[in-house]
């Protein structure tokens, strides 16, 4: 039972009027993993999250979170799941500490224990200096970090973060993502985060689901996603060598697995199905040229994303 999924969605649908926001979504997330729900705005990410928390009823389909049906028993689910909404708000006239203590009181945590826990968490998110400042004066990054502390007050098994990195500066994002990863690795908390910012998801997620128009188009880790989405051109290898004449180009193109070679300003981009870096370097050296730089360019999610849609448009056009 160890591999049992902690979040399980089965054929989940949600219709608003005539618009289908979530369309037959099936997904399972294992305990302890960081899952990224990736999709453009309006893809149905927030609706899916609301259904997991029992804040919205699914039109059809089944949701199970920690083995509990949130439609039937939302309160039990909310006891175990922490939810950080997109653009989280706090009571501006209360201090950060007071906001956390209020959350604790709503969760039925005794006052003394709550205070101890709040300090620990404020330390963890580096907000101890601002603990007694009113949250109205907090910056967005601070609010988001306080939000994370707020979510952790109830010691959740699962945390769901809706667009956690939206509108924070790069340093703040790095800090937040580091925190999320630490939580997952050290405390075994399952994390589900939704985002349309692909770089952020890519940095920390074990698995990613690509979610567009209410449907899950692909899921898996980044590499699997790449393979799933482009059967060809899974890798791009960037080569800088000198001299680079056409003869060498032909030789590289002849390497098995290479699909295409493109000349760029600085060198060559080799598109290939498998990682053929070794064969390329060998070819260049054997040809008598000097190799200065050879690197595999991983597909970022945005590239996956972008190219997938390019490809899909083409496919749909056929």
């Amino acid at each position: 039972m160890e591999t049992a999924a902690i979040i399980e969605l089965d054929n989940l649908c949600k219709t608003y009027g005539g618009h289908r926001a979530v369309d037959h979504l099936s997904l399972s997330i294992q305990k302890g993993e960081i899952f990224g729900l990736l999709g453009p705005n309006g893809a149905g990410k927030t609706t899916t999250i609301l259904m997991m928390l029992g804040l919205t009823e699914p039109t059809s389909g089944v949701v199970r979170v920690c083995g509990i049906d949130p439609v039937r028993n939302p309160i039990e689910v909310k006891r175990k799941v922490g939810y950080l909404p997109d653009d989280v708000g706090f009571y501006p006239h209360m201090t950060g500490m007071e906001n956390l203590l209020y959350t604790a009181a709503l969760n039925g945590i005794p006052r003394a224990e709550a205070e101890k826990r709040a300090w620990e968490l404020l330390e963890k998110v580096k907000l101890t200096d601002a603990a007694h400042k009113k949250t109205g004066t907090y910056s967005r990054g601070m609010r988001q970090r306080l939000g994370l502390a707020d979510v952790l007050m109830k010691r959740p098994d699962v945390i769901i973060l809706d667009e956690p990195t939206l509108g924070i500066d790069p340093e703040g994002v790095r800090e937040l993502l580091r925190l999320i990863r630490d939580l997952s690795r050290h405390e075994g908390i399952t994390v589900l985060l939704s985002s349309h910012q692909l770089h952020h998801v890519q940095q920390i997620c074990d698995r990613v689901g690509l979610f567009v128009g209410g449907r899950l188009l692909a899921e898996g880790n980044i590499e699997r996603l790449a393979q799933q989405l482009f059967l060809q051109d899974a890798y791009v290898i960037h080569v800088v060598a000198s001299p680079l004449d056409d003869r060498l180009l032909v030789k590289i193109e002849a390497i098995p697995g290479v699909n295409k070679v493109e000349r760029t300003e600085t060198g060559l981009d080799v598109y290939c199905q498998t990682d053929v870096s070794a064969a390329i370097s060998q070819t260049i050296i054997e040809a008598g040229s000097s190799l200065f730089h050879l690197s595999r360019r991983d597909f970022g999610l945005d590239e996956i994303y972008h190219r997938y849609f390019e490809g899909r448009d083409g496919r749909e056009g056929e």
């Binding site: 927030t46 609301l50 928390l53 804040l55 919205t56 309160i75 039990e76 909310k78 006891r79 799941v81 922490g82 939810y83 909404p85 997109d86 653009d87 989280v88 708000g89 706090f90 009571y91 501006p92 006239h93 209020y102 959350t103 009181a105 709503l106 969760n107 039925g108 939000g147 707020d150 109830k154 809706d162």
Partner: protein, 359 residues
């Protein structure tokens, strides 16, 4: 017959209380921790809301305004009464029988309106001010979705806000009423009779129900409208309509209707008069005025239409408390019903609304 009815009623109450205590006991045994957790969550909400109200400038200003006007009107009432009392010793004796104490709340010397007028004017304002941004401010601050992600039933939020506002009102008005009573005793030197005291308590309860109506209207608009300003203005519009314009509109309509040549019999005239009165009574402020007048002025013997024949044999004496209470029973029931209906609609809408961050 009456006695048996009362007996049955008492039995009902006893069995009801018994049933509840049993249910409570069962609940405690069932999930002691769970209920305690839920109760503490609810009291946490009420506590927080109460603290918010007490520290907000809006409330401090309104409460100061109410205190100021009430004590102002009280002062004028007291000087008027004292002047009358000082004029002769006989006046004092007469005063004891004439419910002088209640006059504190209703009399004015013309410079300032009476306590009753002030309360019926400022009470709704207070109710609206407490309620108009209850839900939409949470929504706009983005705290509602965070609140909803906590393990509390959804209705705790709206119930908690209502309970906190009502508690604040209760404390404010009861302390105000009792302070007025105390000052009256000190300055006038006449203690209120038990009946007068009971009338004052009932009057305060009625005030509470009336304010709760406007509070619930405010909460209802705060659920419907996303903008706090829209909800405040709509609540004020409803309040102005019922307080000022509704009676005007009814009068405009009533004038030709009551003086029409088509009326041929007394029954018809009385029927039309009653219809107009019925229309008037659709307004909660009219209901409140009627019932508080009957409570605080025992001389008011009826709230309906009385023909000369009916008054012919009547003795011009004040009504006893129980009869006054009986007189306003329908009005009080209607007010409570209106309050509950407002709350029920707000509750229903809130429970069905989708919770989205800042949506």
């Amino acid at each position: 017959m009456k006695a048996s009815n009362e007996g049955r009623w008492a039995n009902d109450v006893v069995s009801y209380v018994k049933r509840w205590s049993e249910r409570l006991k069962a609940g405690v045994l069932d999930g002691k921790k769970q209920t305690r957790g839920a109760n503490s969550a609810f009291s946490a909400i009420v506590k927080k809301e109460l603290a918010d109200y007490l520290t907000s400038w809006r409330m401090i200003i309104l409460i100061a305004l109410i205190l100021l006007t009430c004590f102002g009107s009280l002062y004028t009432a007291m000087t008027t009464i004292r002047d009358a009392l000082d004029s002769s010793d006989e006046a004092k004796e007469i005063a004891k029988g004439a419910y002088l104490f209640l006059k504190l709340f209703t009399v004015s010397d013309g410079t300032l309106p009476s306590f009753l007028t002030f309360v019926s004017f400022l009470g709704p304002l207070l109710g609206i001010a407490l309620g108009f941004d209850a839900i939409n401010s949470e929504r706009n601050r983005g705290t509602l979705s965070r609140l909803m992600a906590q393990p509390i039933p959804r209705d705790y939020v709206i119930n908690g806000k209502f309970a906190a506002a009502l508690l604040l009102n209760a404390v404010l008005f009861f302390s105000l009423g009792l302070l007025v009573t105390a000052l009256g005793i000190l300055i006038l030197g006449i203690p209120p009779t038990f009946e007068e005291f009971a009338r004052i308590i009932c009057f305060l309860l009625l005030c509470l129900v009336y304010i709760a109506f406007w509070l619930n209207l405010g909460i209802l608009f705060s659920v419907i409208f996303r903008q706090a300003a829209t909800s405040a203005l709509s609540s004020m519009a409803v309040w102005l309509f019922f307080n000022l314009f509704y009676s005007m509109i009814v009068e405009v309509f009533a004038k030709p209707f009551l003086q029409s040549d088509a009326i041929t019999s007394v029954e018809q005239a009385v029927g039309r008069q009653e219809l107009v009165l019925g229309l008037m009574r659709l307004s909660p402020s009219y209901l409140f005025n009627e019932s508080t007048t009957a409570l605080l002025s025992p001389d008011v013997r009826t709230l309906g239409i009385v023909t000369v024949e009916q008054t012919a044999g009547a003795v011009a004496a004040p009504l006893p408390f129980s009869q006054s209470l009986l007189l306003i029973w329908p009005q009080a029931t209607a007010l409570i019903a209106a309050t509950l209906i407002c709350f029920a609609i707000a509750y229903w809408l809130f429970m069905r609304q989708e919770i989205r961050a800042r949506g």
